[in-house]
Symmetry: C2
Subunit: 118 residues, 2 copies
Amino acid sequence: MTYYTNIQDHVWKALSDAKRRAILDSLIKGPRSTGDIVSLFPTIGRTGVLKHLDVLKNSELITIKREGRTRWNYINPAPIAAVCGPWVTRHIHGITQSAADLKALAENSPSEEKQDPS
Amino acid sequence: MTYYTNIQDHVWKALSDAKRRAILDSLIKGPRSTGDIVSLFPTIGRTGVLKHLDVLKNSELITIKREGRTRWNYINPAPIAAVCGPWVTRHIHGITQSAADLKALAENSPSEEKQDPS
DNA sequence: TTAATATGTCACTATATAGTGACATATTAT
DNA sequence: ATAATATGTCACTATATAGTGACATATTAA
């Protein structure tokens, strides 16, 4: 199945690939053009990198700003801080969730985690 | 390709699945038997849960202790603390890695991150 | 011993994902 | 206008992954 509609899953899935994490690492210093990022990965082609950037964009881990024919890719750490940060912290400190949360997690794990009450 | 030989990747891949994160959540309170964990997931079968537990075991996110015919699954937060913690912290605070590290990351991303000098 | 319980293993299916090559479009330089 | 640059899109292939049903094994209860 693996139908996940919430942003949480998108973020974790995006971060599960080593190359995508490397791309994010390379953006900490500052934005890079797409071509520049491509040149950082000699082992895969341009379209491959493009698809990784698409994944990062869809999970909002990068934002994009066009300047002429150049596309500038900016890192956006907000999803990391919002999604992974709390989860990792909770597990490092062994903090238990409420039984109700756990039940929801297990039963419909695609939607997972705390959801907006919208 | 996606041949990853280091533990780092195993951890991120393991955590990329919502059900596996839910299993880990359920273990914060304390160890559970395999059958107990299975009963937490009505949407998938026993073998499905077993495979998730295998993934968690291979990434050392759980440890196992047998007691008669019962297998007790214990959470092990060490890989989270060792692998995800620093990465997440670094990104939340926007801390740059050395250029050499970045180059290594990009060129042979399968092995990724800092490796044992062994 | 026999049956029930709890778990392990395996081959299989279906979907997801990484990666590619070919082609298309937009922008800048000559 | 023409060429070079930078990026976007698409169909395709190969592998990885989630999940299943059937069967096997080990342990406890009757």
